[in-house]
Symmetry: C2
Subunit: 156 residues, 2 copies
Amino acid sequence: MAKYVLEDFTDGRIFDLPSYAVERDEIIAFAQEYDPQPFHLDEAAGKASMLGGLSASGWHVCGMMMRMICDAYLLESTSQGSGGIDYIDWKSPVRPGDTLTGTSTVLASRTSSSKPHLGLVTIRTEIRNQRGETAAACEHLLLCLTRKGYEEGAAA
Amino acid sequence: MAKYVLEDFTDGRIFDLPSYAVERDEIIAFAQEYDPQPFHLDEAAGKASMLGGLSASGWHVCGMMMRMICDAYLLESTSQGSGGIDYIDWKSPVRPGDTLTGTSTVLASRTSSSKPHLGLVTIRTEIRNQRGETAAACEHLLLCLTRKGYEEGAAA
């Protein structure tokens, strides 16, 4: 099983994310459940808002981004989850028919001082639409196993 | 129609959030769509991980939090969306059977210098489980209309 361990997340390494096709039904279904503001539910309300048209919830955009990250590298990694996010910038609306792509760039990585089998990786992920406009950017922390931790079966 | 405009988001004002009952099926359905890491899908994989049991995706927890915010005040506000999030801390796992509650506290608010009908409100939201443990905390920006902007029908 090819797995990414801490040592594979070298500074500056870039992971290309697979594309994500944004569908109208999915935008509305997510919004109905988690963020039922009118501009996430209805074209006319979107047009009347600052967003200028029906647009996905920012949290939905984060969900899409996470799925892209999972499929690019996270599900092949020794991920142990994440403690949090440094920031999220929602830079331009995500609309039905958009196709998102993106990259994750490793900014820094280190071994945990208290848990030597565990690594902390700081990653910046940016996703863009088909016009090259940045849809969202964020910096997030990934907890994963070191090679030694993985080979010894720590927390696995 | 009672609406919260910029002037209603006074410094230090606290909004109590309604409770959210976390269900196993919802945890798994969200994870299958957006974050299919094993510890979000399967009890045994959760137990074997640092999370110690089946736990909701952090992004799902953000979705739950957003729904609580919507139902507490956002859907009754002149919200125009949000430009982003300052940070998210996922402090303890959210599990099936948990009941979340929380608060949003206004940290600061001001009128936009470039768009005088628009206000920018900085809010800290914290959600807790039934044992009083903080599940997640974040600081988020809310764009909303000033009273004058709302009365004049700006972007509405």
